[in-house]
Amino acid sequence: MLHTTIGNIGHLSLIVSFVTSLLATYGYYKSIKITDLQEVESWKKFARYAFYTHGLVIVGVIACLFTIIYNQYFEYHYAWTHSSKQLPVYYIISCFWEGQEGSFLLWIFWNVILGVILIKTNKTWEAPLMVVFASVQAFLCSMIIGVVIPWVNIKIGSSPFLLMREVMPDIPIFASNPDFVAEDGRGLNPLLQNYWMVIHPPTLFLGFATTLIPFAYALAGLWTKQYKEWIRPALPWALVSALILGVGIIMGGYWAYETLNFGGYWNWDPVENASFVPWLTLVAAIHCMIIYKNNETALRTSYILVIVTFVLVLYSTFLNRSGILGDASVHSFTDLGLSGQLLLYLFFFLIAAVALLIYRWKNIPTDDKEVSTYSREFWVFMGATTLCLSAFQIIAVTSLPVYNTIVQNLGFVSKLAPPADAATYYSKFQLWFGVGIAIFSGVGQTFWWKKVKQETLSKYLLTPALIALVATALIVLLSVKTNIAEIYNNFFYILLLFACVFSVVTNGSILGNIIRGNYKLSGGAVTHIGIAMMLIGILYSSGYTKVVSMNMTGFGMRGEDFTKNGNKENKENLMLLLGQSQQMKDYMLTYKGKRLEIRGVKGYFNRKDFDIIENDFHAVALKDIENEGKKIASVGDTVITQSENTYYEIEFRDPAGKVFSLYPRWQNNAKMGTAVSPDLVRAMRSDIYTYVSYDPITAAGGEKEWGKTQMETMAVGDTIFLNDFVAILENVARITDLKDTKLTEADAAVQAQIKVIGKDFKTYELNPIFAIKGAEIATPVIENDETGIRIRFTNIDPKTGKFTFAVNTSQPDMIVLKALEKPLINVLWLGTLVLIIGFTMAIFRRYREFKLMRDKGLA
């Protein structure tokens, strides 16, 4: 039986939600256009209820889709694509927004919540605000409505409630059995099965959703000719938006740092950039809105920046979801053929906002007074400008695939590729913007809080600059002395460091002054200190990332390459043979073998102790499994595991003798190929970031490739070479006990002792057995992973006293490891926390101001 009812309810609800959003738009629009007070109220009421209905229906849609995913109704394409039986509940929530449709729903949901809050908290702004809100909802709902307009045959939106047989009608099974239901789904991309991925997308989408609020206020202000009044209610929301969007972006970065192996938290990926750029312009907008309160010059700029921010969010949506980025990004969703609709959405609001702005431009109050360089507005404005330029540079480069598409659509050829080394390319510009932001944040804040005149300039600015200069020199010295970073060799880095220290000094001194007065006003100073700390963390951790897995052994290097290019030939990866120790920086490393995780149990377990069931999420224990003295499973027990994940246990022994293990991971990701994840040694001073850059056996599909069988005939004491190891047949002795079979008096068994000597004279023992039981001969295969030798005792020649062994060799079990040291990366995370605190303080302050005015009836 197919569960078609729930899908039909869901789809119907979607259509209702679209219609109600249109009704709400119309109702609110009407309430502004007419003048009769009573009618205004009744239209407003109508529109309000239309929006509430819209909200309720959206909750219904979400409940339907979640039911389908949660109960794993694999007759639905969405459930089949994004869910599977193995997923625990908390990841089923992530399945919901893995696809385009679900993430649109998430966004729509946030808009509903925000819309309701705005209705409840506003008195006069409700109608114009909600016209913008409800029309945005109509556009978003249209993306997932999934209806075909019959007479023009145009499909609008892509519904999440499509059945498998509707999406893929050509699959033969549906011809013979239309009610066929797949047994299991493809599941959530295993890379996203991470706790950060449960909270990062909702945070980011809430960030995107909140950018609509200042935009809606700005349009409402232009429309109802309240050119100045919108600032006060919009400002706390702009701060909320910047906080949430910022936190969402950082969460994504932190996830990338822990899970992806591009070596850091930021990859300049187009999708990352496209979410960061609106944040920059939003922060610039906030600064202009704050300036405006003292100087009207910034009012027009505030309008422009608030509009630009929202349009950039739409642009990022377009980049992310239209498929235009193609292979330029790892994040982009699969193309659902929505490009046209997304462009319409983008251009509708772009044109509407710009047209309204131009129409009202002359009426927006402005201050024609010359701005003095001694005014605080000037310096804050400089900071905002720097933020905008930084945003401009990022978006200009990120849009390269868009230029190619436009030029090609015009019939020309354009083959621009993203910069080969993105980090270096972007940093070249962003370094300067970073310097600017840090300096202006210090100077701006000083001018803001202190009466700076020509005569007091040295007191307020020169003194902190000198302190910063001395502090910078000390930090440079300390960095070099403690071996954290050789920062003296790069003037630009020292400049950035100085700028950041200057920002900390000035903002710190302001913070000290304010706290003595009214600590509630200190949000700005705290936020700026957070930013400066983040910049310092970025400077050290990225600018002075050090490869610590340098191959200094001389082993595993080609003779000719060793000294080539002034000895600079790449030696950044270290080969580790199973069980053999290797020195890396301060640590002695030993690769201990491949591990797996058991769901619900802490720790990692030897893969060899389990029989992993292929294409399934179960494994059977081959022996009793214990962890820290607690029994986890007995022989034959089935445990839940993710067979696609292979963890490599790498033991670290530090000079003090402390031993711990890291577990970097390889994931055989069905959606993306092999995905590599690092593991980290965390310390205040620096993180050591380690990942397995190559594993020949897993790369070859997990099966070892054995060479041709060689027959070796030896007498006791003979020596042969096997796989670059020396093997000595030390003894052959009779044994009375076989592991699995009982031997009787009439049976006989002998065991050979073969000593294998490897690098550093480490020895391994191979003990093949030759057994006669009744009329049968048993010669079990012995395999040794460390040496890559497989051996079988095949014959005993009583005449010559010689023994024959069948031997195969393969590559020994090994991994290639890369490890990076990231100094002071924790300053970045710490700075983020400071930033969050600062923003939160500012939000409370600005909201209190809005509430006071509103309750006085002024807003």
Partner: protein, 146 residues
Amino acid sequence: MKKTHIFGLIIIAIMVAILVSTGTEAGTYSDFSVAEKMEKDGDADAIHVIGKLKKDASGQILGMQYDPVIDANHLEFLLIDEKGREQKVVYNQPKPQDMEHAEQLVIIGKMEGQVFKCQQVITKCPSKYQDGKVDLQGADKAPKTI
């Protein structure tokens, strides 16, 4: 001219500079012949080359060498660019995972004498779940298609 105008002009100048630099410094997708010409002209810029690994009739990869025991930081392979030219490529890093399965490779680097030295290899893997080729578990007894 007012100060604000000068300020505006400076901003516009910076923006233009950024755009120009984006245009000139962006990489281009190109081929080995161009890379060779660039080396002759002394142009040290890295370029993107799109190509396929050389394979024999049965799909075996030819000319690829990587042995971590000998050198974990040395990979050699033969790439055929979009114009059909075959070129030996050296990559001083471990072999990228899934390289053998890649439909197409994008390599970024430059010619150095007889070999193309690349700094980056981007693999474009065919998704296991392409449209129309669907692995429906339990759909029938036929072997699973990927």
